[in-house]
């Protein structure tokens, strides 16, 4: 059945760790990870609670395929109410932590309350205990990871922890695991910090031995791996170039936003693209890209491992940053690069290292700096606020300097830690925040690509590409090509992607598999692993149920149709040049159709009959 059927509940106020049975009725309805943990959150947390108060809970959750031989079966998610958006947050991460949790015997860990003092959770199989983390507080996520593994003399201990930005109250701090992987978005790390929980270290030796139909499972996962290997994107593009393969593609089609989305199209895109990463540098003859690396069980291996030129200004005299480390993925390269106008690849790589080391979401961070840069250029913000830094678009030196201040909490850090929405409100320029529900956009301009605009506007966690990656269809033609600038059919497309993604995120799999896999590849793997009916139809319905449940949480938190919107810039300011010149996003054409496709009311509410149909 692949679930361990066990939850670890950690009451940080009391300092207790207890294990309890997984609610299998819910598991059968919500599968695992994103869906199942969101169900627990919905049942146990008041959506109106203070996200950074003791009443919020943080759930680390795996899926039934996490820790199995299914390709990419190593994922886990962090679920809580977001301090950045006030909506439900679910941030998904790879690496090795999730599988280890499973091997220790837990489907989920629910953290509740708040500890008086900094603590970390140590799990060694069925032994779980809270330990003092006074010595870890104030340390970066990398340092904390090293210290915990050294303390327990176990290099195989897998650590998820927060960096200094979370401790300093940055509202978009990530939970970092295995040093370079992040449950990155929506400030889940800030919630962890609010509970005085510095790290979770886990070692599991029990493995997973209860797959429902082992023979069918091996067959289905082998089929799945073959499909990934044969597919051009998952078999060649992603391993060779990573998600960064998109930089030149998206720029080429006229949908790469730049400079706080003031512009579309970035003249420096080539310099920060996958191709640039693979090319030997003029300075030292070595490529930025050292190799590719995989998360647990992943046969795609899109992860970038990069090395900055040791003579580059950003890392010169800093030997700790001269080795190989987590390199730029596309969204980070865009937010840190194109959105700030910086095209110095090594500088961006270094800033990315710092994002990993101190755990801030590089998308929101980059976009927030971009908003600050726009305000700096128009004089709203001056060197007085930035501590003397000339925070201009395109300045790698300024970006590196302000990031180094940011991770240590100096200078302009407090303001930047607010995220762009609060930052722009603070400086009375709310229209400059490129966000939905308070969360920053990723790397696809909705003026160039219509469907992704609808996906952003309706995403349950605020602007996000990973809630319905219509780029696959609108740009890459997967599974079928739809025209970027068409709005027809986009409501249905967005719904289908959202539901399917919700299911994938609940299984323990990586959404990147869906470049090659349809539900007919995924469902048989789940069905062989889990008891119960996991047909294609049931999988899709489960995905839809999960989507609606998340929406209900947000509704109870106070969100309405009025929050399903895009910033005015994307609706009114036309693209000035390039293949998409003259376009804006036509959300108004798509949103009513989307509500209809979802079986919602015209004002975006979920009526009783839809609830009943989905057993909500």
């Amino acid at each position: 059945m692949s679930w361990t059927r066990k939850i670890l509940r950690v009451d940080l106020s009391k300092g207790s760790c207890t294990s309890e049975a997984l609610n299998m009725d819910w598991a059968n309805q919500y599968l695992g990870q994103r869906g199942l943990a969101s169900k627990y959150l919905t049942e146990e947390v008041d959506p109106k609670c203070d996200a950074l108060g003791p009443d919020n809970k943080m759930i680390m959750a795996t899926g039934p395929l996490t820790g199995t031989m299914a390709s990419t079966g190593g994922r886990y998610s962090v679920i809580c109410k977001s301090p950045l958006t006030g909506a439900i947050a679910c941030s998904n991460s790879g690496g090795f932590f999730g599988a280890e949790m499973k091997f220790a015997g837990y489907d989920m860990i629910i953290f509740e309350g708040k500890s008086d003092k900094p603590v970390y959770l140590l799990i060694q199989d069925d032994k779980a205990e809270l330990r003092s983390a006074e010595h870890l507080w104030g340390k970066s996520a990398w340092e904390a990871d090293d210290i915990v593994r050294a303390t327990h003399q176990d290099p195989q201990l897998r650590v998820a922890c927060i960096g200094r930005t979370a401790e300093q109250g940055c509202l978009y701090a990530a939970v970092m695991n295995d040093k370079h992987r992040a449950a990155g978005r929506s400030g889940v790390g800030t919630v962890m910090a609010s509970k005085n929980l510095k790290a979770v270290a886990v070692r599991g030796t029990g493995g997973i031995g209860n797959v429902n139909d082992a023979e069918a499972f091996i067959a289905a996962t082998n089929d799945g791996k073959a499909a990934l290997a044969e597919n051009a994107v998952t078999g060649q593009g992603l391993p060779a170039f990573g998600t960064q393969v998109l930089m030149n593609v998206i720029n080429g089609v006229g949908a790469l936003p730049a400079r706080n989305m003031r512009d579309v199209g970035f003249e420096g895109a080539e310099n920060i693209s996958a191709e640039a990463m693979a090319e030997p540098r003029k300075s030292d003859g070595k490529a930025n890209l050292t190799t590719n690396g995989a998360c647990f069980g992943c046969t795609i291996a899109c992860g970038r491992i990069s090395t900055v030129d040791p003579t580059h200004f950003s890392v010169k005299d800093k030997p700790q940053y001269q080795g190989a480390s987590g390199g730029l993925e596309y969204e980070a390269a865009w937010a840190l690069g194109a959105d700030t106008g910086v095209d110095d690849l090594d500088a961006l790589t270094y800033v990315n290292f710092l994002c990993n080391e101190d755990g801030m979401d590089p998308i929101t961070y980059g976009a927030t700096v971009a908003a600050a840069m726009e305000m700096f250029e128009d004089g709203t913000i001056t060197t007085k606020e930035t501590g003397g830094i000339e925070l201009k678009f395109g300045s790698a030196e300024a970006f590196v300097a302000i990031t180094e201040q940011f991770v240590t909490g100096e200078g302009f850090a407090k303001d930047l830690g607010l995220g762009s929405k609060r930052l722009c409100e603070k400086y009375k320029r709310p229209e400059l925040s490129m966000t939905v529900k308070g969360q920053e956009f990723p790397a696809y301009d909705p003026r160039g690509i219509q469907g992704i605009g609808l996906a952003y506007a309706t995403s349950n966690r605020g602007a996000c590409h990973l809630r319905g990656y219509t780029i696959a269809s609108e740009v890459l033609g997967i599974p079928v090509k739809t025209e970027m600038n068409d709005t027809d059919g986009k409501a249905e497309l967005v719904k289908a992607f959202q539901d399917a993604t919700a299911l994938v995120d609940s299984a323990g799999l990586c959404v990147f598999t869906t470049f090659a896999w349809g539900m007919d590849n995924i469902a048989p793997q789940i069905d062989a692993a889990c008891e119960g009916d996991w047909s294609v139809e049931n999988c899709l319905e489960t995905g839809e149920r999960i989507w609606n449940m998340e929406r209900l949480f947000n509704e109870a938190a106070g969100f309405t149709a009025d929050d399903d919107k895009l910033p005015k810039r994307l609706l009114k300011e036309v693209i000035k040049a390039g293949p998409t010149e003259g376009q804006v996003n036509r959300l108004g054409e798509m949103l009513p159709k989307y509500y209809e496709a979802r079986g919602w009311t015209a004002d975006g509410k979920i009526p009783d009959e839809t609830r009943q149909r989905l057993s909500l």
């Binding site: 090293d146 050294a150 303390t151 327990h152 003399q153 176990d154 290099p155 070595k286 050292t290 190799t291």
Partner: protein
């Protein structure tokens, strides 16, 4: 060629097998004086707890193995050897001549100078015969005193605990296994044993053992008294050198051998616990009395007896111990060398310890507690004398990265 091997322990058996491989036509005889087929003392603890029966201690399948290799197995005591006449005399009066002789006579437990040691309740634990006696007396609930918490004492600890006895251990050193582990590691073992209900007395010796009617009373140097139904002595072993005592063959702590395992008589070799051979780490000649050395000695001696050998670089002193579930090991100069760096991680809460000792940039000694994975690579790093370069600094930061250090220094990992 006539090869005679005196002693049927691991050194003798490995030597016989190696000789057979090297010289298919030679006559090879193993002469041993214990009544059982060749067996392993390392397996005795597992015999004590009924994990295996007696046959599980046998070094090889006695029914087939030796016959198949055409190795003669003689259960006899060798009374004397005559190096000048190149012959040995057996207890039954028969004489056997040899071209090459291997002394693999092993060692025997030392009897500490304690009054009362002759009492019937007092045993050593060395032979299968001893083990049978212990099994008979160490019944669940009875009080047992173990004198000596050295390597031998510690390997039978678990067997005694599992038999359900009330166990007390008395060790004159300031810690358990003082010749294998340092203060911290030995201290961890002591705490561990105490947590398991074992009454551990370190820095303490036994003054006397006396008959108390129902059993014996053990008087301790700290004034304490322990009553016991059974006393087991495990205070170390001494090489069985009696056979050469009257000859010209040189003896020190054991029979002195050169780097070819040759004694001062070129046709007489010695291997295993009886041999005082070269130590890899120090270059000194020492009796190691450990299983891996016995097998290495046996092999090297045999190759040289067959004329195919080379000078040996010395055997590395090393031990692995399972003390009631807590696993420890040590290698080489685990106590360090003058002027050498060391790296250490000590986590007493979880009974974990690792200590590395360097000379320049190579590893010369190591010890660990609570580790079971890749421990052998500590031997590899020490014996290969690999220059660790940068990896020494990394090991100083994180001594658990021994396998990574080994791989990085020996394997081709680069691909750019």
């Amino acid at each position: 060629m006539q090869h005679i091997i005196v002693g049927a322990g691991p050194a003798g058996v490995i030597a016989a097998e190696t000789l057979r491989k090297a010289d298919p036509d030679a006559d090879i005889a193993i002469i041993g004086d214990e009544p059982e087929p060749p067996y392993s003392r390392m397996a005795i603890p597992y015999y004590l707890i009924n994990d295996i029966d007696e046959s599980g201690t046998y070094l090889r399948d006695p029914k087939r193995h030796f016959a198949e290799l055409n190795i003669e197995l003689l259960q006899q005591r060798v009374e004397t050897i005559d190096p000048s006449g190149k012959s040995v005399t057996l207890a039954d009066g028969a004489s056997r001549s040899y071209d090459k002789l291997l002394l693999a006579t092993g060692s025997h437990p030392i009897s500490p100078p304690i009054p009362g040691l002759e009492l019937p309740q007092v045993h050593s634990c060395w032979t299968l015969e001893d083990a049978r006696n212990i099994i008979e007396r160490a019944q669940s609930g009875s009080n047992v005193v173990l004198i000596g918490a050295g390597f031998i004492g510690c390997i039978i600890l678990e067997a005694l605990v599992k038999r359900g006895v009330n166990l007390a251990v008395v060790e004159t050193g300031n810690r358990m296994v003082p010749r294998m582990l340092d203060d911290k590691a030995g201290g961890l073992l002591e705490t561990w044993c105490k947590n398991k209900g074992i009454d551990v007395h370190t820095s303490c010796s036994v003054d006397a053992i006396s008959d108390s009617g129902s059993g014996v009373e053990v008087a301790l140097s700290d004034g304490g008294k322990l009553s016991a139904a059974l006393v087991i002595t495990a205070t170390g072993v001494k090489a069985n050198t009696d056979l050469v005592a009257g000859s010209d063959i040189k003896i020190d702590q054991g029979v002195l051998v050169n780097r070819r395992m040759q004694t001062s008589d070129p046709d007489v070799y010695a291997a295993g616990d009886v041999a005082q051979g070269v130590d890899f780490s120090t270059g000194n000649f020492e009796v190691q009395a450990i299983q891996p050395t016995a097998t290495d000695h046996g092999r090297i001696a045999a190759l040289n007896m067959a004329g195919q050998g080379d000078e040996h670089h010395g055997t590395l002193n090393m031990n692995v111990l399972d003390t009631v579930g807590l696993i420890s090991c040590s290698f080489g100069l685990w106590m360090g060398v003058d002027g050498g760096d060391s790296a250490e991680l000590y986590n007493p809460d979880e009974f974990q310890y690792i200590n590395l000792q360097f000379d320049g940039d190579h590893l010369v000694g190591a010890s660990s507690v609570g580790k079971t994975q890749h421990v052998g690579v500590m031997r590899g790093l020490i014996e290969s004398k690999i220059h660790l370069g940068d990896w020494k600094d990394r090991l100083l930061q994180d001594p658990t990265a021994i396998m990574e250090a080994y791989l990085a220094c020996t394997q081709e990992l680069s691909y750019q």
